[in-house]
């Protein structure tokens, strides 16, 4: 659909992240996979080799690994503002899964919809907003026109 038919939001951050300290917005990651199915092969490889490094690199995120009998392996990511994102990792390699995890870690939990403006300020004007009498004395009477010189 077009940008008019889909929802949109303004650029913002969760709880003024970055003004003081930067806080990683990813709260919890659950890797749901199967122990025997072929589609979870990449997930199993990633859990063998990469999951512990990932958990050590992101101490603020809790990693849950849950092998269940399921047809579709997925990663469920929960963010600090309460949003939940599910990504399926069917037939992905371990490398692709780790890239997907870094992408999810770098995101904040805000929705991936159209962002109306690429900037956001809380104090838009410092020297004062312009009004027609800035730098001009208010005068009652006809305007004094200037003459246009010929070239």
């Amino acid at each position: 659909m077009t940008s008019r038919g889909t929802p949109s939001r303004f650029l913002r951050s969760v709880l003024q992240n970055g003004v003081g300290r930067y806080v990683c917005q990813l709260k919890r990651i659950s890797i749901v996979f199967s122990k025997k199915a072929q589609s979870s092969l990449g997930a199993r490889d990633f859990i063998e080799e990469g999951v512990v490094d990932y958990a050590n690199k992101n101490p603020g995120t809790v990693v849950y690994v849950s092998p269940q009998p399921c047809r579709v392996p997925k990663i469920v990511a929960e963010y600090l503002n309460g949003n939940v994102r599910e990504e399926t990792i069917t037939s992905k390699t371990s490398q692709q899964i780790s890239e997907l995890l870094t992408k999810l870690t770098n995101q904040s939990g805000l929705e991936i919809i159209r962002i109306r403006k690429p900037f956001h300020t809380d104090s838009p004007s410092i020297q004062g907003l312009w009004h027609p009498f800035t730098n001009r004395p208010p005068s009652i009477g006809p305007l004094r026109g200037f003459s246009m010189h010929d070239f």
Binding site: Q25, Q107, I112, I115, I126
Partner: protein, 195 residues
């Protein structure tokens, strides 16, 4: 015809006599290769449409006024007597008007991890409530310091790029997802030293 030629001669002599500060831009300082010795062709946009008013002060008075203004601004900066600062910064091919604690969205990937601080070096203008410092074109790096933190590195929403020609059975559809980076401007600092 003769009247316009006379006018042209009159404007040329006027231009030679009076100093035209607004015409002399860095792009206009080219080699004077034309026969008449002009720097730039004279067009309708070479001067503003309002009449040029000669300043009522003499040259020495102007210089003293300028020196007074510069010393006032210097004093303000030394005593850190300004409130909130804003700046115009050139970053990622665009110019942004930026204050402390505001957010910026860049439509590409930046070589910095989330949470790292970045210094923005191309500053064109810095202003406070009472004074503005304008760079020509940039301000010095030891004068202004603008720091930002990388908050988020996501992807954009899936934009649809569709081409359609009617009555030709031609349509192509493509989904474009771009990497995005969100920066939070931590603050603008002005150093107490102006030359």
């Amino acid at each position: 015809m003769s009247a316009s030629m006379a006018y042209a001669g009159l404007w040329r002599t006027c231009r030679m006599l009076l100093p035209r500060h607004h015409v002399l831009s860095p792009a206009a300082i080219r080699t004077q290769s034309s026969a008449s010795g002009d720097l730039m062709p004279w067009t309708s946009l070479s001067r503003p449409p309002w009449p040029e008013q000669p300043s009522p002060y003499s040259a020495e008075e102007e210089q003293s006024r300028h020196a007074a203004v510069v010393s006032t601004v210097n004093q303000r900066i030394n005593l850190r007597d300004f409130g909130r600062l804003f700046a115009v910064v050139h970053f990622a091919g665009r110019q942004w008007k930026v204050t402390g604690e505001d957010l910026i969205l860049i439509e590409n990937h930046i070589e910095a991890e989330c949470g790292e601080r970045i210094r923005m070096e191309k500053v064109l203008l810095v202003g406070a409530e009472d004074f503005t410092l304008i760079g020509r074109p940039l301000l010095g790096k030891e004068l202004v310091r603008i720091e930002a933190t990388v908050i988020e590195k996501t992807e954009s929403w899936p934009k649809v790029h569709m081409r359609f020609w009617k009555r030709h059975r031609f349509q192509r559809k493509r989904i474009i997802i771009q990497p995005q980076t969100v920066l939070r401007i931590n603050g603008i600092e002005l150093a107490p030293r102006l030359t």
